[in-house]
Structure formats: C-alpha cells, structure tokens
Amino acid sequence: MKDPILRVVNLKKYFPLRRGFIETLLSRRRLYVRAVDGISFNVGEGKVFCLAGESGCGKTTTARLILRLIPPTDGKVYYKGVDIFSLKGKELKRVRQEMQMIFQDPYQSLNPRMRIFDIVNEPLDINRKDLSYEEKREIVYKALEDVRLDPEEVVDKFPHELSGGERQRVAIARALVLRPRVIVADEPVSMLDASIRVSILNLLMDLKEKYNLTMIYITHDLAQVRYLGDDMAVMYLGKIVEMGPVDEVLDRPVHPYTQALISNVPIPDPTLSRKKIVIRGEVPSPVNPPPGCRFHPRCPYAREICRREEPKILEIEKGHYVACHLYE
C-alpha cells in the first residue's frame, strides 16, 4: 500500500466533566468523558474511509480532532507525514485549506445572516487574498454548478430560503472552493429527507472522482457505508472494535458488536429473512466505561477474560483488524 495520506495514531480526547462547586470541594478526583479513547487508523489517498457506530461513540469528536477544531488529550494525526497538532500559524492555515468539513445539519452550519454567495465565497476571502473579486466570483459560480445548483438563482438568497438538500449542496460547494485534498463528512445526509439522500450521496461520489478527493465519511448507517465506502472502522464507546475493507467487514463481520449491527439492517426483500441479533441493555456511560472489553456487558459471548482484560486490536486476515478476545 502507498503511504496513507492521513494517519491517526492512538488518538484520545477526554472531556472534563463539569461539576458543581460543592462537589469540587468534596472530592479531588476529576471525572472525564472518554469520548475518543485511543484510536488508530490509516486513510489511503483517494479512498473513502467510513467511521460507523451508534450515536455517542465518538465519531464526531474524531472528526473535530482531525480538523483540529478541538485539541487532543493524546495521540497524533499525520497528514502527508506532518503531525498536524504541532503546526502553528501559516503552516496550520495551509494544511487546513487542504482539509475541509461537511457538517451534519445544513440548517445550522450556514450563517443565517449571510447570502449564499458570501457563504461560499468566505473561504476564498480568507485564504486567497491574491484573487480579484471577478476571479473569486468565477470560482464560486463554478462550485455551485458543481453541486448542481443554479448560481444565478441562489447567490442572492439567504439559507432559510433554500430546502435542506439545497443547503447541504451549498455547504458542499463551500467545502470545495479551496480545492481540498481531504473532506471530512459528518453524517452529511442524516438530517435530510430519505428521498434526497441518494442524490446527495451520488453528488459526493461524483465530486470525489472528479477532484480525486480522499474522504472520511462518518455515519451510523451501514447501508451508506456499503454504498460508498472503501475501508471502514466500527467504533464502540470511543474505541475501534473492527476495521478493514468495507466488503470484508460487512460480509464477514467477526466482532460480536459488528455482527449485531449488521443483523439489524433491514433487508429490502420481504421473502428473505435474517436472524436478528438483539443486544440487550444500553450503551454504558463513557464517563465510567466497563473494565476489560467495553462491550462485555452486552456481549452474548462474554467470557471471564473479557471482564478483566482489554482486548488488543489484531490483524486476523490481511487488512482486517478486530479487537476481541474470541480471536486471540
């Protein structure tokens, strides 16, 4: 494999829990939410890497860490071999231009008081002071055409005058104007109507091909992973439990959690039936994760060792990794 464009090594993010004044006086111990707890993965150039998992498993936190929107507790992220957490000032700005993000909620990610033109033009205004207004306008119009909006029609509008799908297209156009190499897409279609999801997904894939983008795609929907992913990682409570090529992981899942997730994806053909694996209980609190394997309280195969020791992530087949005592 070529050198990966993005390398995440043992990334951690603990959020300190806010406590009341009295509590601070009574106990010394600070509590932390372990949102992301030591994850590592590589993303190959031009690939779509999917991060899958239920809500609260740390997917979005991972995205924000990779873009350096929040500082990490520990770990490294290398972009083209450069540790992005060590960057400052100009260097950071240069790298950020190459990594852009598409947010989950297009109703919240566009400034309600700005016209579409200004929204899409903002990254150029900040980063490309060398361009004239006419040049910038050309790029903005081109980007809007790329996302299949009619520039003439939308440039003067405010976000609230557009539909959810149109807004997400605007957000994509905005992410594209700087010609990034990596796009981090955080559940870009989960807030949209089912009817327009596919068109947005297709648009993303077309643009990825056209501009040879690398994409980190965050979703809880395994059907979307299958549709557009090359590689994937399944997260549970801040840890990666299984990772590998999408077809490999989805067709031959080995971790009990992944198996349960897949068994719960509805099959469109009613004549087919699949045994659903129902996992009991709730996701434990990330403030106080269970000792040993984090999945053991809900795992149908849990053994003694799972309660004591944390499983290491091992390569069971070429490129297919799993963190489970069953395979050690």
Partner: protein
C-alpha cells in the same frame, strides 16, 4: 490595497436595497410600530426645522409679561423670563433627541464590545468583564447619575456621558447571553475550518447575528435615556445653555407655575416627554417583535 470593483459595489447596493424593502414590508404590518414611527417623525421634523417653526429664539427674553397665558401671539404663553414657551418646546426637542441617541450609542458601544468579548472568549476574560459589569449593574442608577452630573458640571456632553456610563451593563448582559449561544453553532465551527480569525468570527459572524436584538433593545434604551435626561434636568443638573423639556419643568416648578395655575408652562413639556418616550417604546416593541427570533411569527 486593491480598489473595490465597481461591479461589486453595484451588486452590494442591489442586495441591500432588497433587504430594506423586505424589512419595510414586515414593519408596515405592525400597527404599534407605525404609530410610534409617525410620532417620532413629527418630533424629528420639529428638531430639524426648529428655526423655521419656532416664532422666536429660545434666548429672546421679555417678549411679554412673565408667565402670561396663551394668546394669539404666544400660543403657549410665556415663562418667568418672558420667553415664548412654544419656541422653547420646539428647541427642546433637539436636546432630547440628541441626548437620547448619543448616550444610547455610547452604552451600546461599550456594552456591545464587553458582551462580545466576554461571551466569545469565556474563562477568565469573561469572569473579569462580567464582575465589572455586575458592579455597574448594582450601582443605583439615579443617585449615581446625580452625583456624576453634579461633579462633572452642567454640560450636555456630561449628561450624555453619565447616562451612557450608567446604562451599558444591561446591553453587555444581553449581548453576552446571545454570544454564548451563537458561538456553539456549527457555522462558527465551519468558518474556523475555513481559517477564519477570531476577529473575523466575532465581527463578521457573531456581531451581525446579535445586532437585530441589540437594535431593538437600543431603541427602548433611547426612551430610557430621554427619561433620564428629563429627570436630571428637572433636578437642576441640566445644561442651562441648552433648554430641554426637563429643564422647563424644573423652572416651572421653581417659579411656582403650579401654584399660580400656569398650566401652559407645565403641561406641554410633560406631554412632549411622554409622547417622545412612547414613540420610542412603540418602535422598540415593534422591532423586538420583528427582529427577535423568539417572538417572530412566521
């Protein structure tokens, strides 16, 4: 620096014109707002065209017997120095409007900046700025104004300064609470991804989103400032070279207008103060209804 291209300016103008048209359309449907705006326009006209409307100069004394009742020549009678009360009233509009606008501008300037910085940076900066704000907030407003006005001396600029200094904390509080909510919104994060600086985020993304609400509060603030000015002047702390409505009430009181039944000296400035304050309150409520996202009906 590159010159802004003419095309860009033209495009901007077109966009602004459209925004103003949209705003005017919503405003027109608000009855209270229209009444308030109507009253205000009358007063603004009075202030601007004062030399044309007033039959006499406010400084002209001994035009008639002191405290003579309304007549054909002096429609609102004369004061204790024989000045034409109607003329005083017309010129007084200038003072009230000037003090109201400038002192509110001052309080919005200070309060807005403090609120923006405290809300956005949080932490120690926030704590320090907010404790200062609290300090100003708990100081009793009227006594403080009286003391300050007395120390600084009677000048219209001091009055403006005093009112501005006393009324900024509430603006700071409102702005801060808005900023606290706004800074967590994803569009702020989106502009951080686009390398936006703190300054840009503060003044380009957050401030315009706070502005409408501040605008509505500021208009209500003008009403408060006009009342404060009237109060200070009534207590004799006004600027004698700029006769205001409050000062007319002060002299009327001092020279016993009430005792001798000179209603023409007392009632007109009182009504003027009430109407002008009412007009700003009406406009403020109307703007609040239109601009405050929580009250907006769609």
């Amino acid at each position: 620096m590159r010159l802004v291209s003419r095309e860009k300016v033209r495009e901007r103008m077109r966009i602004y014109k459209r925004s103003i048209r949209e705003f005017a359309r919503t405003y027109k449907e608000n009855k209270m707002g229209i009444v308030g705006l109507g009253i205000l326009l009358v007063f603004v006209f009075m202030a601007v065209a004062a030399p044309l409307i007033a039959p006499h100069s406010p400084r002209e004394m001994w035009l008639a017997e002191p405290l003579s009742p309304p007549s054909k020549e002096f429609i609102l009678g004369t004061d204790e120095l024989g000045r034409d009360i109607f003329s005083l009233l017309v010129y007084g509009t200038q003072v009230s409007l000037l003090v109201g606008l400038l002192s509110t501008l001052l309080s919005v300037g200070i309060g807005g900046l403090v609120g923006l910085i405290a809300g956005y940076y949080g932490g120690v900066v926030d704590s320090v700025l907010m404790r200062i704000t609290d300090l100003f907030l708990i100081l009793p407003g009227l006594p403080l104004m009286i003391v300050l006005a007395a120390i600084l001396g009677p000048s219209i600029w001091n009055i403006i300064f005093v009112i501005g200094i006393v009324s900024w904390p509430s603006v700071a509080r409102i702005v801060r609470s808005q900023v606290l909510e706004l800074r967590e919104r994803p569009f702020i994060e989106a502009s951080k991804v686009a390398n936006a600086s703190d300054l840009r985020i503060l003044f380009y993304h957050i401030a315009p989103n706070v502005a409408p609400l501040v605008f509505a509060t500021a208009v209500l603030g003008i009403a408060g400032a006009i009342l404060s000015e009237a109060g200070l002047s009534f207590l004799g702390l006004g600027d004698p070279s700029h006769i205001s409505w409050g000062m007319m009430l002060h002299y009327a009181h001092e020279f016993g207008a009430l005792e001798i039944g000179a209603w023409w000296y007392l009632v007109p400035p009182g009504i003027c103060i009430m109407l002008l304050v009412l007009s700003f309150v009406f406009i403020g409520y109307a703007l609040d209804e239109i601009l405050n996202p929580r009250l907006r009906r769609r």
